[in-house]
Each structure stands twice: as structure tokens, then as C-alpha cells.
Symmetry: C2
Subunit: 341 residues, 2 copies
């Protein structure tokens, strides 16, 4: 059965499509009785607006593009939920894309969103992204872009970031306080703001404690369980590190596995702190000390920033909001367990 259009409703009622359109849109310039009849008939015919036609005519759509590296990362899926919670009540839907951490897929996804004429884009870059030309093309076409977490100031528009520096600083300071002195740093690409900031926090904490910085125990490009494992094995074989500050929880699990495989104990021999507070962090044994990011808050802020741009119809300020993080001290980083309460 062909789908009902406003023309069908108009014909059935002996009015014109314009009237039906107005009635359905809640335009006050239509008689109450007419509006009633239109709605009844629409219901009867199972009419559902064709938003494709509507978007084309209006020159704008109610779809917002959301582009994240991976939807199955706890952090990102929570940001998405928060964004939905702001956008859905405002009448917007999300077209969600993943880059799978590949810049090529990120470019493709941006194109898809652009071609679909999304009203705006909320995004976090892939870990490979160092060039932002593909994003600039979008902002130049007046599509507002809000960046979160993995951001770059080259792209105009608001940015919402975690307080990565402070999070890392607190984590490393905590390790030092716990008695560890030779602290390795396992992180991602240092060309990404997120890892750069964590690296700076790490360095700052070491410096503050007069612990000399050693570039040999800083491992870049290791954010998965597997790479974390491999690199930890290597470091444990070749150096005398006694702690790991990992820029992610996944690599932290690999690191812990490596430590255990070497016959060492966490936290007694080696301390470990992660970053992100993935759901498994508190289920592990030992429970993983990590830095909690407020994904929900971040999603709300990013979505609100976009809504503001759209309603005010300007490009949006080039501001960066910083969302505070929290160090969750659990078992993997506390050497001396004094009694069990």
C-alpha cells in the first residue's frame, strides 16, 4: 500500500495540501475544526511525514551527525546517550558513525554526514587524525561542528574536553605517594591532544617529585590490551620499572596480564593505574585504580553547545570547556594494605 501523503489527506477532506501542512505543523493560521479533522484523517490513513521531502524543502534537516572512534567504548557510548537525551526532546535524531580509529573511515563518515545535510556534527577524532582539512570543508559550508574529547583547535567551533592533564597528574602523584618511583607511561599517539595532555600531567607530577624523566619508559601507540601486554613484557625484561601509568584501561589490563605472567604481583611488586574507568575496572582483580571521565556531562555540554549554535545561527565561539575528572583509587596501585577493615 502506498504511503499516505498530505495530498491524500487534503483530497479526502476537500482542502488543499497547504492547509494540511499548516494544520500538521501546528500553524495557528488554521481553523481549530480543520486542524481536528486533518489530524483525525492523518491518523486514519496512518500518515507519517516524509522528512526527506520536508528537509529538502526547508533546506535543513533535523538530523545531527555523531562521529566517534568506536561506539563500543564505554566512554563514547555514554557520551552518545547523553547527547541523545538533549537532542531527542529538541526534535533531533542522531546519525551515528564510527571511524574505527581510522582517518580514512573518518573522512568517509564526514562525507556521508555532509551529503545527508545534517544540521550539525558532534565528533571526536580518530587516533590517526592529524590533518583536519576534511573537517574544515564542513565548517566552511556552515555546518556547525562541536568537537569533544579528541579535539583540535584548528577546527572552528566549541570544544569539550576532559581535564586530562589534571587526571594524569593526580594518577602519577598518587603512584608516587604509594611508594613507586620508576613509573612507566603507556599511552596513545602523542599527536592527539588527549594523550599529549596526559603525558604532560605525567611529566609534571614526576618533576614535582624530583623524579628524573626517562623517555625510554614512555611507550607511545599502545592503547589496546595486546599492545599493552607486549610493551609491558618488553619493559619488564629490559628495565626496572615498578609502576605503569596507562592512558587507557584496556592497555592497563594487558600490562597487568604481563606482570602476572612474569610472576610478579600487582600492586605489591608493580603498581598500575589506568584511565577511563571502563566497567570492567572495578570487576578486575586487583580492582583497577583509574581516572573517571564524566562522559555524561561531556555529552550534555557538547549537545547543548550545538543546540546553542543552531538556535543562534552563528558559527559558535572557539571556546574550550574543560570537564573535571576524578581519580578512583582502588587496589592496583596501593602497596600497603593495612588490615581488612
Amino acid at each position: 500500500m502506498r504511503r499516505a501523503t498530505i495530498i491524500d489527506i487534503a483530497n479526502a477532506l476537500g482542502v488543499t495540501p497547504s492547509t494540511v501542512s499548516r494544520a500538521l505543523a501546528g500553524n495557528p493560521r488554521v481553523k481549530e475544526g480543520t486542524r481536528q479533522k486533518v489530524h483525525e484523517k492523518a491518523m486514519e490513513l496512518g500518515y507519517q511525514q516524509n522528512v526527506v521531502a520536508s528537509s529538502l524543502r526547508k533546506g535543513r534537516s533535523d538530523t545531527i551527525g555523531m562521529l566517534v572512534p568506536r561506539i563500543n567504548r564505554n566512554f563514547f557510548s555514554h557520551v552518545i546517550s547523553a547527547v541523545e537525551e538533549v537532542l531527542n526532546p529538541a526534535g533531533y535524531n542522531l546519525l551515528i558513525c564510527q571511524s574505527n580509529e581510522r582517518v580514512s573511515k573518518e573522512k568517509q563518515a564526514i562525507q556521508v554526514l555532509f551529503k545527508n545535510r545534517v544540521a550539525g556534527i558532534i565528533m571526536s577524532h580518530s587516533i590517526e587524525t592529524v590533518d583536519f582539512e576534511h573537517i574544515l570543508q564542513v565548517t566552511e559550508a556552515k555546518v556547525p561542528v562541536v568537537q569533544f574529547d579528541r579535539v583540535n583547535s584548528i577546527v572552528p567551533g566549541p570544544r569539550v574536553v576532559n581535564d586530562n592533564f589534571t587526571g594524569a597528574y593526580m594518577a602519577v602523584k598518587h603512584l608516587i605517594k604509594s611508594g613507586y618511583t620508576k613509573i612507566a607511561h603507556v599511552t596513545g599517539s602523542l599527536s592527539v591532544n588527549v594523550y599529549q595532555e596526559r603525558f604532560k600531567g605525567y611529566q609534571y607530577a614526576l618533576n614535582e617529585a624530583n623524579i628524573p624523566f626517562d623517555a625510554n619508559i614512555v611507550i607511545e601507540d599502545a592503547i589496546t590490551r595486546e599492545t599493552g601486554f607486549d610493551q609491558a613484557i618488553r619493559l619488564l625484561d629490559s628495565t626496572n620499572v615498578d609502576a605503569f601509568f596507562c592512558a587507557g584501561d584496556f592497555s592497563a589490563t594487558g600490562v597487568i596480564q604481563a606482570i602476572l605472567d612474569k610472576g610478579l604481583k600487582v600492586p605489591e611488586d608493580i603498581g598500575v593505574v589506568g584511565f577511563a574507568n571502563e566497567p570492567f575496572a572495578e570487576l578486575m582483580s586487583p580492582k583497577l585504580t583509574t581516572v573517571e571521565q564524566n562522559a555524561y556531562d561531556m555529552g550534555l555540554r557538547a549537545a547543548n553547545a550545538l543546540m546553542k549554535i543552531i538556535s543562534e545561527n552563528n558559527g559558535g565561539d572557539n571556546v574550550e570547556e574543560v570537564v573535571p575528572v576524578r581519580l578512583l583509587v582502588r587496589e592496583s596501585s596501593v602497596k600497603s594494605v593495612n588490615g581488612n577493615s
Copy 2:
């Protein structure tokens, strides 16, 4: 700057929009030289097709709707990734929605997808969904729907399900073999096919081993860590259960927490088996025995089923594909550890 259209390209080249459209679409009925020039000019002007207009004109869109209870469930996010891997190369994009396990949100999402004129829908129902009228409206309008995991045969079209029965049967049989005899079952709503099948598998295994079925130790509507915890506390207080077969890993973590809180040990005193193999299952201590679902395979099958319907332009058969599952025996269910290899 206004976005370039095919008219801009046509004007710049002194040809008509039709020619440009054909050239861009790869229509062979256009001279090679013209095609060249069109592509060059398109590139120069930064032309990106307006798929909104294209969809309206063609009467179909290249967007597929994907509706899942929660994108941050490991299982669902992997299904999504697999679906993307089939659909993207075929030129389709995903409009992803979550129901958050609420039937009201599921209905809303279905409307959104319908209004956006998606070419098809791949979905898994919310746990609350018992009435399928909102889906039938969609299938009646000839929008193909492929259900996966949480499915119902009332809805016409292909279904892809896990072999929940066998998974549950293997899990419970394994518990029995490990020496447990009073096995509780912590599950979701029994009106959902997934939990119904697991319940049947549980009953079958008990029956096979001549263990009397006891309805008092079957707990419905407990799939979160919190409810799993609460119900386990209750059962441990009021019964003499010595094992739990949980229909999900999240509830299993709550159950284990409850057992430990009671001063009992897993697996020595109480055995626990989960379902789903969430990533934390192998990171927990004790490592959780669970049933692995092949989310990836399921996603591929669902996506291929939809592609088949679309290309063949029929409604799709009312068939159910069953994807095999695998019992992963780890630590939480094996009483007698005889030596460490």
C-alpha cells in the same frame, strides 16, 4: 558559501543538469570527455551530492535503520560493527537508535526511522516489548524488517537468533557435571524469546539429570548487576542453592558480589555461569564461565538478509537463522582445581 549543486556544475560547463547527473552517476550514456570534465569541475567546486534530494526523487534512500536496546552492550555494538561492514561497502549508511529497553522509546525510534524513509530496519526489541503493532505498521508499508536476537515470529521477515537453548543447556549441564545440584536461574523477562529459550535449556538440562525443577529459585526480571546482587542475597538467605546460572554477565557479577559478601567462595562454595561473554568476563576474578554469542556472525547474517530482501525486492522469507554459541569454561564454575598445569 552556498553549496554547489549539479546546476552550478552544469552552468560552469555549458551542459545541462541531466548530463551532470548522468556523469556523476556513472551512467554509460555520457561521453568520456564530458564525464571527465564534470568530475573535475565537481571536485573544483567541492560538490557533494545532496542525498536528501536524491532520495526524494528516487523514492528510496540509502539509509538503513538500526534499532537496538543499548549500543553500549558489547553484544549489540559488535552486531552494529558487523552490520556496518556489510552495508557500508554496499553504499548504505546506518541511522542508529537505542530504545534503552523502553518500549515507548522503541516506538518513537521506529517512527523516526519510518519518517526518514529508511530502506530497511535491522532491530532487536526492547525487553518490555510484548506488542508488535508498531513494527507491523512498518512492514505493512513494505519497509523490510530483519529482527535479530530479541525477535518475534509475529513480525514478518527474517530473524537471526542465537542458539539460546543449547547455550543454556550446555551451561547448566556443565554446572551439574561440576558437582552442583541446586542451581538457581537468574534471568530476564520470560516473555522475551531470548530468556524463554535459555529457561527451556535450563529446565531441559535439569530434567536430563533428574534434578527436580524448583520455581522458587528461578528469578525473572533481573539482568543488571544491582538486581542480580539483590536477588542473590535473597536466595542465599532463604534457600540452599549452590550454583547460579545467570542469563547475562552483568547479573552474574552482582551474584558473585553477593556470594562474596556472604563470606562464601566462588567456585568452591557456589558456582556461577553467565551469558554473553562481556569483555570483563575474562578479566574478573574468578574468571567468569559464560556463553559466548557470535555477535559478529549474527550482524553479518542480519545485514546480508536485509541486502537480499532489498535487492530481490520481495518481503523476505519468514525464516529463522540460528547462530551457534559456545560455552567458555573458566574459573567461576569449576570446583576442583587439580594442579596448575
